[in-house]
């Protein structure tokens, strides 16, 4: 009886407990991945563009570190996890942290210690966690020291190499062949770089370029896995030393890959040499390289920073340039030996193959104690890349400029393993600018599925070629605008048609904006293709190839198609595609304009040219001080054009005199438009300007977050303009007041087109947008190819092309090499799902396994029944 009572009490107790606690609701875990593509903290800001993250930090060491960590927290966690993932041992990261802390931290000067601590704290305050614990300075230190640690432990070949069945045999054979070989083998690294100056370059000033290498396949898949995260252009404005622009990875205080430039006009690059001897005492390369760029005014100082307290790890060929003196140098640095080459005339290239005998002796022969050195002492022998470099640099001797550098760096085998490319020249450095390419510069996409890996690694994504982008790290007044919009869905808008342009079996990116005439669409591609396409069917009317790179756009006047290219200007018959005339006058990126029998365009040599539109005879030219990327606009008799020297010029085309010029704080690459006696344009000083077209007086200016490269569009009293700060702005044309803005996930170079109540434009986040003209609400958007999602800011095919709209359709090109036509009005959302072919094996396995088990059971039951009967 007592027990029964007890039972009742217990039952009641349980019921009570259940009813009491049932009010607790289940916490909804909203784990949706929001793409953080812009940010501001204190004086720091970040934006995405063309696969890169531009990050500006400034101030005291701790402060700038904190800004860095805070704004790139997700990306830093991502890179730490990558380094963690490439090692087979679960505890590898623990070990790396301890090792970095124990052997390197003490050699860091207080300044960099604080910067690292700041980064860690910034990440921590954004709740950045590794293995469930908050990120601390050891994590940040360890990622900075990874290459030095790997040099130390000679573990350049890591996971999953060790797990392939014959790794032991492979590594022994490769070691043996390496030791007895007399032929030059390619170094594991495939960084390539060159410097040119004096007679070698087109203007006698310096051109510098470098590509980082990746790797794919079973042994070196992880190189790409790491390299694709090296997508940060870090702009550091310290309280002491020079302002620096560094191409690097999130969380790094140095470059590692290596690209540096500073505001004293110095450039520092590197290609890695063999693993050499090292010593414990001595400063880590992190510290020496960072000091070299932060505190050097000259090549001598730089060399000094590298040689002082050298610890010998991460032996490199350091390329240095001083744009003030026009001198370039190469410092091949091992532990005990180094070789220094300097010149003010000529070129120096570097591709992991040291030329200095002593350095070779130390690194490459077993007598120099190089651990995997060869038995035979050997002289320098050029590798394939050495040969190619020499051939191309000789071929273009005297005409080397940024355009040639792009060409050289996109040529195989030089670009064979490249995962990016950076180029600058003296004139760009003046404005603290550079050209950058994320992905393989020749346009090849890295498809991770082609190099599968026994088990998927988080973040092992494709690395598409994201196209060339020109950026300037200028410090100007800026205003931060941001709204979080979520449009990461898989929903797609169906293209009416699409057409792929191809050259050399590769997708041929399109930077150009199409032109429309008589139901035909005209567009050109980067590798020189010129196309006429039927606007309704998407079939080609004709195609031609000019053999030069081109990012200019076509214009049609009187049945003639005019087009610029890196080779010069062309005139085509618009119906047949035949070349009527051409002028080889150097690079033209601007879209030509035809007016009263003249064709005008701006050139990379800084001139505005006027040609006879009939035969291409040069009629006159007007010089500005730097390159021109802006396209001219003619209104009345005045030609308006921007130049990288920071001015907008108004030139009378009749008298060929300068009417007025207006100075902005940065290069003017944006093309002006003229309406109602007002000129509208943007500048890299972050502003959109409206000037009086007659006098050049400022009517209003509007400050965005970063440079304005996009050209404005004007419709019904509203100026629509995109900015590198990821936003599309609608401004009142009269007073420059902000009507609305819309945030995309990356910078906007494409110029908007207004049609049927929509504002159409592309963004370098890989999406094409249609906004409501009135309020800026998203009407529809589409990502025809790769687009930014989550922290993978480098996965994109930017849409730089400015759309044109016509007869209910909107047309644009993309860096994925395709021309698209969408219905401009209606938008059918059709979910695009990845096709998965379910193998027959799966079905068979599901069914057969069940049948076999059932049969065995039945068999047993029948047999045992018989026995028992």
């Amino acid at each position: 009886m007592r027990i029964n009572n007890l039972k009742c009490v217990l039952v009641l107790f349980i019921l009570l407990l259940l009813s009491l606690t049932s009010y607790n609701s289940v916490a909804v875990d909203e784990d949706e991945q929001i793409t953080i593509s812009s940010g501001q903290y204190d004086k720091a800001y970040r934006y995405n563009t063309h696969g890169w993250i531009y990050l500006h930090i400034e101030g005291e060491p701790y402060d700038r570190g904190y800004q860095h960590g805070y704004l790139l927290a997700n990306e830093i966690v991502d890179i730490i996890q990558r380094w963690q993932n490439i090692f087979p041992q679960k505890n590898s990261w623990k070990f790396h942290r301890i090792y970095a802390d124990k052997f390197f931290w003490r050699n860091y000067p207080e300044e960099y210690k604080q910067e690292i601590q700041g980064i860690a704290d910034g990440v921590k305050d954004r709740d950045g966690k590794i293995d469930g614990r908050l990120v601390d300075y050891k994590d940040i230190l360890a990622i900075n020291e990874m290459y030095e640690m790997m040099s130390r432990f000679r573990t350049y070949s890591v996971y999953p190499f060790r797990f392939s069945s014959n790794w032991m045999i492979q590594s022994i054979t490769s070691l043996v062949s390496n030791m007895i070989s007399t032929a030059e083998e390619e170094h594991k690294g495939k960084c390539s770089a060159f410097l040119a100056t004096g007679d070698a370059t087109v203007d006698g000033r310096i051109v510098a370029t470098q590509s980082t290498f990746g790797g794919k396949g079973s042994k070196s898949w992880w190189h790409n896995y790491i390299s694709e995260r090296f997508n940060v252009l870090l702009d550091i404005q310290p309280t002491q030393g020079h302002r620096m622009l560094i191409a690097t990875s999130p969380g790094y205080i140095w470059s590692d890959e290596d690209w540096y430039q500073n505001d004293a006009g110095m450039v520092l690059m590197e290609t890695t040499l063999m693993l050499g001897k090292s010593r414990f005492i001595g400063d880590p390369v992190v510290v020496r390289a960072r000091k070299a760029i932060q505190y050097s005014d000259s090549i001598d100082e730089m060399v000094d920073y590298f040689l002082t307290n050298n610890n010998g790890l991460f032996a490199n060929d350091w390329l240095m340039a001083d744009t003030k003196t026009g001198e370039i140098a190469s410092l091949e640095l091992a532990l005990r030996n180094y070789g220094l080459t300097r010149t003010k005339n000529g070129y120096i290239w570097s591709c992991n193959n040291p030329k200095n005998d002593k350095v070779r002796w130390e690194l490459y022969s077993i007598f120099g104690f190089g651990v995997i050195g060869r038995l035979v002492l050997r002289d320098f022998r050029p590798s394939n890349r050495d040969i190619k470099f020499e051939e191309l640099l000789e071929k273009h001797y005297g005409e080397i400029n940024v355009d040639i550098a792009k060409q050289i760096m996109s040529t195989k085998p030089i670009c064979g393993g490249s995962t990016d490319c950076k180029i600058t020249d003296s004139s760009l450095i003046d404005n603290f600018g550079l050209w950058a390419f994320m992905g393989k510069p020749n346009g090849e996409d890295f498809i991770s599925n082609d190099y599968p890996f026994d088990k998927e690694k988080p973040g092992y994504t494709d690395l598409p070629a994201c196209g060339w982008v020109n950026i300037y790290a200028l410090s100007n007044k800026n205003t931060y605008y941001d709204e979080i919009t979520s449009y990461n869905g898989e929903d797609g808008v169906k293209a009416l048609w699409e057409l792929e342009t191809k050259s050399y079996e590769l997708r041929d990116p399109i930077y150009s904006s199409p032109a429309l005439e008589d139901d035909s669409l005209y567009i050109n591609s980067w590798n020189g293709g010129v196309y006429s396409i039927d606007a309704y069917s998407g079939t080609k009317n004709w195609e031609n190839n000019i053999g030069f790179n081109s990012s200019s756009s076509p214009i049609i006047e009187c049945d003639i198609l005019y087009l610029g290219s890196n080779g010069g200007i062309y005139a085509f018959d618009k119906d047949t595609g035949d070349i009527i005339w051409m002028k080889e006058i150097g690079g033209i990126s601007s879209k030509p304009i035809s007016h009263n029998g003249f064709v005008y365009c701006g050139s990379h040599d800084g001139n505005v040219y006027a040609f006879d539109s009939e035969n291409g005879d040069l009629k006159w030219k007007f010089g500005t001080n730097e390159e021109i990327y802006s396209s001219p606009m003619v209104s009345g008799n005045v030609l308006y054009i921007g130049s990288n020297d920071g001015y907008l010029y108004a030139i009378d085309v009749k008298t060929r005199d300068l009417e007025w010029k207006y100075e902005t704080g940065g290069p003017v690459c944006s093309s002006p438009i003229v309406f109602n006696n007002m000129v509208y344009f943007g500048s890299w000083d972050n502003n959109v300007y409206a000037l009086n077209a007659k006098t050049g007086e400022l009517e209003w200016e509007f400050t965005t977050g970063w440079g304005v490269d996009s050209s404005p569009a004007l419709y019904k009293g509203t100026v629509f303009v995109g900015s590198e700060d990821n936003n599309m702005y609608a401004l009142n044309a009269n007073d420059g007041k902000l009507k609305w803005f819309f945030s995309t996930n990356a910078g906007i170079k494409s110029s908007p087109t207004v049609y049927g109540g929509f504002v159409f434009f592309g963004s370098s986040d890989g999406r094409f947008y249609a906004l409501n003209m009135e309020d800026g609400d998203l009407e529809w958007s589409v990502s025809p190819d790769y687009h930014i999602q989550g922290v993978y800011n480098y996965v994109t095919k930017p849409i730089d092309s400015s759309p044109v709209a016509y007869d209910g359709k909107v047309f644009f090109g993309s860096t994925d090499g395709k021309v698209y036509c969408f219905d401009a009005q209606t938008f059918e959302k059709e979910p695009v799902e990845k096709e998965i072919r379910v193998p027959t094996d799966t079905w068979v396995f599901m069914i057969i396994s069940l049948i076999i088990v059932t049969l065995i059971t039945a068999l047993y039951l029948v047999v045992s029944r018989r026995k028992s009967l």
């Binding site: 606690t21 049932s22 041992q89 045992s864």
Partner: protein, 488 residues
Amino acid sequence: MSALILAFIVYLIILVLIGIWSSKLNKTLDDFLIGGRKLGTWPVAISAQASDMSGWLVLALPGRAFLYGVSAIWTAISCALGTLFNWSVVARRLRRFTEKLRALTIPDFLEDRYKDDTHTIRAIATVIIAVFMVAYVSAQMVASGKILSETFGWSYHIALLIGFTIITFYTLMGGFFAVAWTDVFQGMLIVIILIGLPIAGIIKMGGFGSVFSAMGRVDVNTISPGFGYGGLFFLLFAFASMAWFFGYPGQPHVLTRYMSIKSEKKLWNSTLIGMIWVIISLWGAVLIGMIGLAMFKDIPDPEKIMPMLATSLLPEWVAGIVIAAIVAAIMSTADSQLLVATSAFVEDIYHKLVSPKAKQKRLVFYSRISVFMLSVVALVFAIPGENSAIYFLVAFAWGGLAASFGPLIILSLWWKRTTKWGAISGMISGMITVILWDLFGITSYMESLSVHDELVVPGMLPAFFVSFFCIIFVSLFTTPPETKKLFS
């Protein structure tokens, strides 16, 4: 109060009523521990399976299928074949031998089989059962904590405490009768759910093909029978997945079910029912994991996939029953295991060694106390278990029992030549191998090399063979006991 919670509570009340009703049948320790060897076909068949499968079936196996897709079928195959092995090779003889020897528990049986007057076998067996059963019950408590916290939003620890209360209370009241009869009720319910839920899911997804495609989109390996592995790795993967097979003959809580059947003749029917139940449930559970993967793609704890699927696919009150059934499944195993562990203390130690003449009433009372104590110990071990996978907790306990008793039970039943020392060496070597392998040795070594979990061969596999050969080897050098009568 939502329909979900209402259905859940109503269900539990029904179970409690069954428990109260059946507790009236418990008069002797025999009744409490093995239902007085009076159980019919259905109770034996279903309860043997239900106590075997447990929270593992409804949480861990779908969780595995969520992670590994169709390749989780290897585990299902090994379990189905393992069950068949038990019914065909072990059940009949065990029933016959234990009846002849009047053994109530596995230690009982082993001691009598080897005529061990020194009680060494009994002592070792009892220790092994106590250790691994507590681990096993712990795994069940973790499971109950996970499921309750997921469903009702309680914190894991509160959920764990409630789970503990329900399990303990329920076992205390009923003893074997309650356990066996509630097992039947729950076993039937589980099988209905494991058929119904996948069907609902497949309809929702629009056919089998789209389930596969959706899985493939998440991870293409999940629609490959070898989880994307080829060659030797494929074999290793399949082998590691199928290690469960070797555990079947060694599970005391399942074996006692065979001992409790009313007559040997009913075994055939029980086998038929049991096997149908097992095959349906295993494939159903795998399907649930696969459909879950297709629908949810990524969830924090894959082992919670079945409750998630139930709440999203079914009407609320049905989902409540499903959740209740899941908890019930956990209970059905936990209570059987608690009973087996209890029997190890009360019957094997106290009754047989300490106080052979103790009254039945006192023994039942001690059993209840011991159930409570063991539950508390299991609870303590379950407290930090929020983040551990039930799959591996169960694999450890299962492996320990499998290696210690599996080879021994088989050889005891089928090889006359087995000796006492063979038996002792077999139990000890099996247990040591499992512990060294899983806790200290190979597994953690493999993990440190970052070998993927699914390729790590669980300890039960090597331990089974070590134990097997130890018994044979030692037996060949020692004198066998007199067993003519037993084997006749």
